[in-house]
Amino acid sequence: MSFDAAYQSKVLKSVGTRPLRPDGVDKVTGRARYGADFNMPGQLVARVLRSPHAHAKIKSIDTSRAAAAKGVKAIITAADLPDLTDGNRSLFAILDNCMARSKAMYDGHAVAAVAAIDEKAAKVALQLIEVEYEVLPHVVDVDAAILPDAPVLNDTIFTKGVEPIPKTPSNVANQAEFGHGDVEAGFMQAEVIVERSYKTEQTHQGYIEPHACVASCNTDGTAELWVCTQGHFVYRQTCADLLGLEVSKLRVTSSEIGGGFGGKTHVWAEPVALALSRKAGRPVKLVMSREEVFRASGPTSATSIDVKIGTKKDGTITAAQATLRYTSGPYPDTWAEIGAMTSFACYDLKNVKTVGIEVIVNRPKVAAYRAPSAPMAAFAVESAIDELAHKIGMDAVDFRIKNAAKEGTRASYGPIYGPIGIGPTLEAAKTHPHMSAPLGKNQGRGMACGFWFNFGGQTCTDLNVSADGTVTLAVGTVDVGGSRASLSLIAAEELGIDYQDIKAVIADTSTLGYNDMTDGSRGTFSSSMATISAARNAIEVMRHRAAMMWDIPPEDVYWEDGHAVAAGTKHGNRAPLSVKEIAAAAGNTGGPIAGHSELVADGAGVSFATHICDIQVDPETGSSRILRYTVIQDAGKAVHPAYVEGQYQGGAAQGIGWALNEEYIYGSDGRLQNPGFLDYRIPVCSDLPMIGTQILEIPNPNHPYGVRGVGETSIVPPLAAVANAVSNAIGLRMTHIPISPPRILAALNDAARN
């Protein structure tokens, strides 16, 4: 049946309420099963041997002593994960990252793995594996990597996206350019120009649950994987590709997830566990330690960004330009390109140009982190915007309002916007009491805007009506932030029944059609669309069943408020039939009642936010404390407002940590110095005030209820909002994130000396 996804304004009963999430009690009582909570009979324990070198040729690996050790059942190296990627470079990067082939590319890169009867035997075996390395020169810094004398990490990389293609290899994997108009001409018209360079350090998503899985390969070519992931269908595809399995024979079940934020969109341990299980002929459990999580999974790019913006004194921006260098780890990727696309997306600009430069370094392979690449770009651009506003003596909000993108604006990355929320979030910020609250000594206020694309994608949902009239909803997008509650509300709304009568589960890959993963803020957006469609299909079935029960034509039955209703008066005053009544009769009217939906959720409306931050700086120590923080964001329609607020707050908290303290610190040997939560400082509860939220609802025209994704945008403005607040508090521009106490104190000392 064709499905109309267009927005229809109507009064909603369930959507917009705040019931408890179905997974909540299990989570707070410890009953919920996460990745490491699954076990199989006869299961082995896997451990991974990792390179201690930032860059080294692997001359040989001798596993014979380890293989002979007590309790060891299988050892694998790259030879056991042969290259089946057939020229697909991004798949090869995933493979090489799971198990290094000829070279170890970063401190922590996997070079071998062991499966043994217990943890201790596995640990002993690791120490018996002899790897002969030839240590090579390394580079971890984004700017150092593109200097002419930098060691070239991969001599098959010739910068793509430049004309002509260079004849010598370099660490610049590719370059991408966006924009329109004539920036040179635009800068000529400018009366005031700000031009600055900014830097951000590499951060990790910091999910509390480490990567964990149990893999079991059978001799008949079938296999099972229980895993903590944001996308079990995608993991299935990747693992099947890498191991040469038939996709449908690999069954992947996703566990509850203790945080992912993009970091669990990517396989690391899973192909290794499967390869070990295949070799050992037994189930294998692999749980990464925190240290491994930091050294070998996740992180976002470190960046170096140059921004130039020109304006007239009346606040009209005449031209804007940015060059953005992003690290991608050892393999080419598109993080700089995404950063370049998002840079100026909040503004309506005549002349704009952005260049993204992707830089290869000896750091872990970069994975998505909540609105990947956007926070760093926003930090640089929004810092420059703030400085410009000061320079022309205009209020920072008014300056942004004057230049904000609106419906019909050509975005700096190409498309023409439909109805969008940047203007309304700015207007809301202007009148928000936070904006006019008084500030004390050594305190500063900063604000910033942020943008994220949002994504829809392939989605499949099953809705089954049980004999008692309750409903199970099987979805294929992993619930990372309360989507089971939101989707149950949606189903309740469509069917006209109680939220309590719906039980949503995340189906495994063998029981539901393919679903893209939960990324791009798509979980609730796309699965709600599929849920609406599935519910309407089920209603269609129930309408027919009611017609059959009444023995009248189906055209004369319509659906209202959870009931089949006989139209008009010609069928007498029949009492409407409830879902329960129709379900109870299903055995005699055609069997089980279900609704299915398979669709590509298009039109995930772009998302905007404006954040306000107050901070206090201790000028003697450089210590800072966030005093107040407010998030204003467009949700399209907040299906479950409490969980929308949770997303706003969570993104802000992560962004604040990134802005103030989180960073990967490398020694001169290229080894990560702080692979643990003691020295990789994410904020603790007492570091943050209660984060204020304001939900705006500007309906997305491409969703029946107007829903937009809300998961990611909230991490985009904080780096800039915090930096602007600090800069305003101390009267000095802070251009290097994280703005840690030593950096603040050094800046104050420099200023005092001059």
């Binding site: 640990k123 690791l126 330690s289 003697e620 120590t621 450089g622 210590s623 404390r625 103030l660 303290n661 610190i665 110095q673 702080n674 003691l678 020295d679 400082r681 904020p683 603790v684 007492s686 570091d687 840690s740 106490p741 030593p742 104190l745 050094a746 000392n749």
Partner: protein
């Protein structure tokens, strides 16, 4: 690995004295249990001292306080007499970790873990505390400063256990305080820590001072120059400036993931000023 929970100090000493090389005393376990997670950690024997009689007691004596080695930081803060007499020591111990950690961790564990950043140690040094040690060759009592010798190393010999911390009776008109710098509000490790103990004369002039620095050298250090800067003053600006300079000068930190040399030296001075004022007020100075 063997786990033992002896009920007498003699039994504990015997276990440790007879043990293979890799044996450990277990108090609160907030350092040891974390270290045990490391792949490289090995132990043959763990001797838990929490069941030994008297280890969990705080006893007030004519000479001061005797604090058993298994007394948790939280228990310290519940002892009103101790809080009144040594507020700086108690506040230092209760900066460790978080509420949960404070329910387990001990000052002796903090000391024997021998981290230069241990929070309670500068406060104990400033208080001129000592430790009572029992071992195969009998008992001895040494100054706090003599226990840590290097990051992760102590002067304790095989089979020796610290049984108690001996805090002297606080002098009349004295006050102690501890302050540390961490980027986060809690669950963090001191980048700089300063412990201080001041005694005033009847006129409110500093008569005696002990100032100890943490996290700015391989072990906690007692800074004589800093004491000199304050003695004879009423904490006027010049004295505080001299104190700050002395503490910055005495700091001998490294550049590492937790802070730069320049930052640590400067902040040592800043904290010294602040903590001196707190101690001065506690001592009754105005």
């Amino acid at each position: 690995m063997r786990y033992e929970r002896p009920e007498t100090i003699e039994a504990a000493i015997a276990l440790l004295a007879d043990a293979e090389a890799k044996s450990f005393v277990l108090a609160g376990g907030t350092d040891l249990l974390v270290r045990m997670q490391n792949d490289t950690f090995e132990a043959d024997l763990i001797v838990d001292i929490k069941s030994i009689e008297g280890m969990d007691a705080v006893t007030q004596t004519d000479d001061g306080f005797l604090i058993g080695a298994a007394v948790s930081a939280a228990a310290l803060s519940e002892n009103a007499a101790l809080v009144a007499e040594w507020p700086g020591v108690v506040e230092a111990a209760n900066l460790i970790g978080s509420t949960q950690i404070q329910g387990r961790c001990t000052m002796v564990g903090n000391l024997c873990n021998a981290s230069p950043a241990a929070d309670s140690v500068p406060a104990l040094v400033a208080a001129d505390a000592r430790v009572r040690i029992a071992g195969p060759d009998g008992s001895r009592e040494v100054a706090i400063l003599d226990i840590p010798t290097y990051p992760g190393k102590t002067s304790l010999t095989k089979g020796e256990i610290i049984v108690a911390i001996v805090l002297p009776k606080a002098a009349t008109r004295s006050g102690d305080a501890y302050l540390r710098f961490t980027p986060r509000t809690e669950m963090d490790i001191a980048v700089v820590g300063v412990g201080i103990n001041l005694t005033l004369d009847e006129g409110g002039v500093v008569a005696a001072a002990r100032i100890a620095l943490g996290a700015v050298g391989p072990t906690v250090s007692l800074v004589e120059e800093a004491a000199k800067a304050l003695i004879g003053s009423k904490l006027d600006q010049a004295a505080l400036d001299a104190l700050a300079s002395a503490c910055s000068a005495a700091s001998n930190p490294i550049d590492d993931k937790r802070g730069t040399i320049a930052f640590r030296k400067q902040v040592a001075g800043v904290l010294a000023r602040r903590v001196a004022q707190t101690a001065y007020t506690r001592a009754g100075g105005k």
